[in-house]
C-alpha cells in the first residue's frame, strides 16, 4: 500500500520538477515538452518497479525507465544543435546496454523460477535482516 502511495506521490513530483528543468533549460518550448514527457515516463517506470510483484513486469518497468532516458537524450540531441551527433550515439549505446541487461535479467529470472516455482519477487525473502 505504502508503495502505491509513494508511487503516486512520486509522479507529480517528477512532473513538477521536470517542468522546472524545462523552464530552466531555456531552450525552445518543445524541448521542455519532450523532457516533461520523458520525466513522466521515468516516473511511471519507477512506479511500476515499486508496485509490480512479478519479476518480468519489474524488468519491463526498468526498460520503460531506460526508454525515458533515451527520449530525453534524443530530445536534447535534436533541439540543441551542438549535441546532435552525440545524442544518436548515446541513444544507441543505451539501447545496447538495455538489451544486454534484459538478457542477463531474464537468465536470472529463469534460474530463480526453476528453484522457487514463482515469479513473484516478494516471495523471495529467505534472506533478510
Amino acid at each position: 500500500m505504502i508503495r502505491v502511495i509513494v508511487g503516486a506521490i512520486l509522479a507529480p513530483i517528477f512532473i513538477v520538477g521536470l517542468g522546472l528543468i524545462g523552464l530552466a533549460a531555456g531552450g525552445s518550448r518543445s524541448l521542455d515538452a519532450y523532457l516533461v514527457l520523458s520525466g513522466i515516463l521515468f516516473a511511471i517506470g519507477m512506479f511500476g518497479f515499486l508496485a509490480r510483484r512479478n519479476a518480468i513486469s519489474m524488468l519491463m518497468s526498468i526498460e520503460l525507465m531506460l526508454n525515458a532516458v533515451n527520449l530525453a537524450i534524443v530530445a536534447f540531441g535534436s533541439f540543441i544543435p551542438k549535441l546532435g551527433a552525440g545524442g544518436s550515439v548515446i541513444a544507441l549505446l543505451v539501447m545496447a546496454v538495455a538489451a544486454a541487461e534484459a538478457t542477463v535479467g531474464l537468465a536470472i529470472v529463469i534460474a530463480i523460477f526453476r528453484n522457487r516455482k514463482t515469479p513473484l519477487v516478494d516471495e523471495y525473502d529467505a534472506m533478510r535482516q
Binding site: 528543468i21 530552466a24 525507465m65 546496454v97 536470472i108 534460474a111 526453476r114 519477487v121
Partner: protein, 491 residues
Amino acid sequence: MNGSDVIIIAPLIAAIATAIAILVVDIVVPGRTNAVIATALIGLGVTAVVTLTVGSMPPTTAYGGAYKLDALTTFLDLLFVAVIAMTIVFAPDYLAPRRLPVAEFATVLVFAMSGAMLISASVDLLLLFLGLELMVLPGYLLAGYHKSDSYSTEGAIKYFLLGSFSSAIFLFGLAFVWGLTGSTRVADVASVLTQVVNHTLPFSPGLAMGFAFLTTGVAFKIAAVPFHYWTPDAYQGSPTPVTGYLSVGPKVGAFALILRLFVEALGPMKAEWLPVVIVLAATTMTLGNLVALTQDNVKRMLAYSSIAHTGYMLVGLAAYAGGQPQGLEGLLFYGAAYSFMNLGAFAVIAALQKRAGVTSQLATFAGLGRKEPWLGVLMTLFLLSLTGIPPTAGFFAKAVIILAAVQAGGWVAFLAVLLVVNAAAAAFYYLRVVVYMYMRDPASDAPPLRHGRLMWGGLTAATAATILFGLFPGLLLGMISAAAGALTAAG
C-alpha cells in the same frame, strides 16, 4: 583511431584476450581445471606486465580524449588484476565440490575486470557508464552462479533488479548533465562547472537533479546507506568466492568511478557536494557497524562490515573535498588494503566451505584455531586488520584517512571522531569470530580438510600484502601519491 590509441588501451585488450583465451582453452581441453587456471593466471600476468609497460609512458589520452592513461589508471588496473587473480585462485576449492565449472567463472570474472579497467581509464561520462555496466553485468551472473541453489539465485535477482534500477537512475542523471553542460567529456563538464561556481553560468535545478541522480546511482554501487539494501542479501547468497570478489572488485571499481566523476568532473563544485558526502559517510559507517553487531552469519556480518568500510573510504573523499588532497591517498590506500584483507577473510570462509553443506554461520568457526591452526591464525590476522589493529595494513589505511580528515577540520574532523568510535565498536563483532575460533569447542569432529596448493598460495599473497603494507606502506604510497597527484592535477 590510430596506432598509438591501440597501444594505450593495450591493457584492456590483454584483459579481453585473456577472457577469450580461457574460453578457447576450455573448448579445446574441456573440464581441465588446471589448464584453465594456468591460462587465466598467465593471461593476468601478461595483463599486469602490459599495464606496467604502458603505464611507464608519460600520461596521455586516446580516442579523442575519452580514454586517459595516467598513474591512477595504472594503479587501479594493477589492483584489479591482483583482485581477480586472487579470486580465481580461491575459487576451485569452493566450486569443485559443488560441480560448478571453473572456466566460465574465470571468464566472466575477467570480463568484469575489463569493465573495471575501463572505468579507471575513462574521462568521459558515457564511457564511465559503459565500464560500469560491463563491470556489474558479469557481477549479476556471478552472484547467481550456483544456479540450482535458491539462496544464490535469490541474491542474484535482488542484486540484478536493484542494480539495473539504479543504473537507470544513473543514466537519467547522465542524460541531464550531458544535455545541460553540452558534453560528456569530464574535463568539459568540469570547465562548465567552474563557470557555474564563479556565477558566470546559473546552477540550474536541472543540473542539480542530474547530479542527484548520478550520486544516487553511484552511492548504490558502493553500497552507501540508504542505498545499501542489496548488499547483505547478495553477499550472503552468492557463492563465497563471488562474495569475496563482489565485496572488493565492484566496490573499488565504483570508487574509481567516484574519483573520475566527483573529483575530476565535479571537482570545481566540491564545496556543494561535501555536505552530501559527509552525511552519507556518517550514516553508512554507523549503520553498517550497528547492524553487523547483531549478525551471526559471518558472510552477512562481513557484508554489513563492508558497508561500514565504504563509509570509512567516503571519509577520505570528504577529507579531499575539505581541502586535504591526502584524503584521496587515504582512500586509494584503503581500497588496496581492504581488497587484500577482505579477500583473505572470504578465502578462509571459502576454504572451510570446501566440504559441501558447511554454512557460514558462526558455529562453523568454533574451534577452528585447534582444528586448522593455520586457517585460524590467518583469519585472525585478516579480522584484526579489518578491525584496524596495528601493525596491519588496515590500521595504516585508517590512520591515513583519519589524519587527513582531522586536518581538514570542521565537520570532516567530526567524521574522523565518528570513525574512531565506529572502529572501536567494530572490534566487538570481528572479535566474536576470533573468540569462536579459539575459545569454543569444534561443533563436529570431522577431520580437517586438505586445501589446494592454489588456496595456500593465494592466502600467502593476501597475508603478505596485509602485513607488508602495514609495516612498509612506503611500498605502495609512492604509487598512490602519484595516482592521487594525477587526479588532483586534473581536477
